[in-house]
């Protein structure tokens, strides 16, 4: 049962072809990794899926409904949650308020939102800092908070853009643990990362992009050992 279906998406910026005809599916409850060297178009693809950009061509379907070109707000309400590569939070609002905003905007009533927020804060080890302004949290805490905001209302699909980048190993472990737990409960994920060990550990299936196109798509082991993938990262003939 396809949760997210991307068909032939193309996007150019001026003369640069960032995404050159990408097709990719994520099934219900799948945990898919998305890897590829810098500049391969991963973040652009994510932006197209979550609505910050609209594709020049191609379609994106969430639960069978086309979402390409819709506003990020509508896509979020359709059940897509996104975590950004450069952490985006409401810095002058408290951690708690960040979560509440996400919850209320997606339709939770006040008591439910408050309860959910408290749960998430507990789960992510952020209860202590609930009332601190988000801008004053440490980098790792901020990532965890942004991560938490994605789950105030369980999304159909969670898009995580480099959630492990520059994060303390302890935090990394908390995040990996949470992803694993939610995945076990049936949550679908598309995770962009450069952290190969964690991708290998978490994701059963991995897709690799290079220069705007998909060059490998299959079981993680196989993809990470694929010659083309290694060449893409190393930029030349692999030994």
């Amino acid at each position: 049962m396809s949760c997210l279906a991307i068909h032939g998406v193309v996007k150019s910026f001026g003369g640069l072809r960032a995404v050159a005809g990408v097709s990719l599916d994520v099934d219900d409850g799948e945990l898919v990794g998305l890897v590829g060297p810098n500049g391969s178009g991963k973040t652009t693809l994510l932006s197209i899926v979550s609505g910050q950009e609209s594709p020049d061509a191609g379609r994106v379907l969430l639960d069978g409904r086309p979402i390409q070109g819709l506003s990020p707000t509508r896509i979020a309400r359709a059940g897509l949650a996104r975590m950004f590569q450069l952490t985006r939070l409401f810095r002058r609002m408290s951690a708690l308020e960040n979560l509440l905003t996400a919850g209320r905007a997606l339709g939770l009533a006040r008591p439910q939102a408050a309860a959910r927020a408290a749960e998430l804060l507990e789960e992510l080890g952020l209860s202590r800092v609930a009332d601190l302004d988000a801008g004053h949290l440490s980098g790792g805490q901020q990532k965890l908070l942004e991560f938490g905001c994605c789950f105030m209302v369980p999304p159909r699909l969670a898009l995580l853009d480099e959630p492990f980048a520059a994060v303390h190993p302890t935090m990394k472990e908390i995040m990996a643990r949470t992803i694993r737990r939610r995945h076990a409960q049936g949550q679908a994920f598309l995770v962009v990362s450069h952290d190969m060990p964690i991708v290998a550990e978490l994701c059963v299936r991995t897709v690799c992009m290079n220069a705007g196109a998909v060059i490998a798509d299959g079981p993680t082991r196989a993809v990470l050992g694929d010659r083309k993938v290694i060449e893409a990262y190393l930029g030349g003939e692999a030994a």
């Binding site: 910050q52 707000t73 209320r104």
Partner: protein
């Protein structure tokens, strides 16, 4: 800095405490001139409250608040003079007109940020002022338009303005305590993140814009009937500058900030006017210092001095 969790929150009460004090002032002040000064302070307090919603809470720094006050004043003025309607109808029409125009402008500037937003609203304000000033046949241009009053007693105007100000504060409080308050602040802090969390950015930005222009229009209309003369000078960019001064000094992003700022700045300007016309120099300097060193304004300083949450 941790926000105190328990409600050491005098917050919501402060604006009303201030207004309460203003309500009692006529017991001590009976001089007509000074009552008038206080009325004008309340005029600015209204505009400032509206602008604060837009800039302090939603992050849209429009340079046109005074222009909308001017539009409100002329709406009611022209209606009363040419159609002979009651001033009360004129005031209602002014609020409606400025809300509609504000909604349109708000939609237009929605995609613009920072300097582009400032420039567009600045241009709009100037165009509006020039059109009104040049339409001599209809508006009597720079000579100003004579407008009927509402009451005989100055004191009646005083309490009318106070009532309007209190009503606006109540409205703002309700708005900010509801989830909308969260959405507006989210938009201010990070619009992209807000949208991706499901906040209807388009709607709320427009709503904030409309609310702020409607309040400015109300202020202008009331002022028109108070002074019984409306002129394009109401919409000068320097007037908008004064509003910005008041909110920055008083404290953006708090309810009491714009009120305190308006009263302080305007009353001080009256005092300084007698001393030698240096009021604008002092205020401009104050704004620069506050913006540079005390972004939170007086309200923020008070909060840090331990007076609790003021938002």
């Amino acid at each position: 800095m941790a926000r105190p969790r328990a409600l050491a929150s005098l917050g919501p009460a402060l604006p009303f405490a201030l207004l309460g004090a203003v309500a009692l002032l006529p017991l001590a002040v009976s001089d007509s001139y000074w009552l008038g000064v206080l009325v004008v302070s309340m005029y600015f307090a209204l505009i400032s409250s509206g602008w604060n919603l837009l800039a302090g809470y939603t992050g849209q720094f429009s340079l046109a608040p005074a222009a909308f006050a001017m539009i409100g004043a002329y709406t009611t003025g022209l209606l009363c003079v040419y159609s002979g309607v009651s001033p009360w109808v004129g005031i209602a029409a002014a609020v409606g007109a400025t809300a509609v125009i504000g909604m349109a402008l708000g939609r237009i500037v929605m995609r613009l940020s920072g300097p582009y937003l400032a420039l567009t609203t600045l241009s709009f304000a100037e165009i509006a002022r020039l059109v009104i000033a040049n339409s001599y046949n209809v508006t009597r241009g720079d000579l100003g338009l004579n407008v009927p009053g509402l009451f005989e007693e100055r004191l009646a105007y005083y309490y009318l303005f106070l009532g309007a100000l209190a009503a606006v504060q109540v409205g703002l409080l309700v708005l900010l305590r509801s989830p909308s308050g969260l959405y507006l602040k989210a938009i201010r802090d990070d619009e992209v993140a807000a949208a991706s969390r499901g906040v209807d950015v388009v709607f709320w930005k427009t709503a904030a814009f409309t609310a702020s222009t409607a309040v400015a229009g109300l202020a202008g209309a009331l002022y028109g009937h108070f002074s019984q003369l409306v002129s394009p000078e109401l919409g000068l960019i320097t007037q908008s500058g004064l509003v910005i001064c008041m909110v920055v000094i008083g404290g953006m992003g708090t309810l009491v900030g714009p009120l305190a700022g308006a009263f302080l700045v305007y009353l001080l300007s009256e005092v300084l006017r007698e001393v030698g016309g240096v009021q604008l120099i002092v205020f401009a300097l104050a704004v620069i210092l506050f913006a540079r060193f005390f972004r939170e304004g007086l309200a923020g300083l008070a909060r840090r001095a331990g007076l609790g949450k003021l938002a």
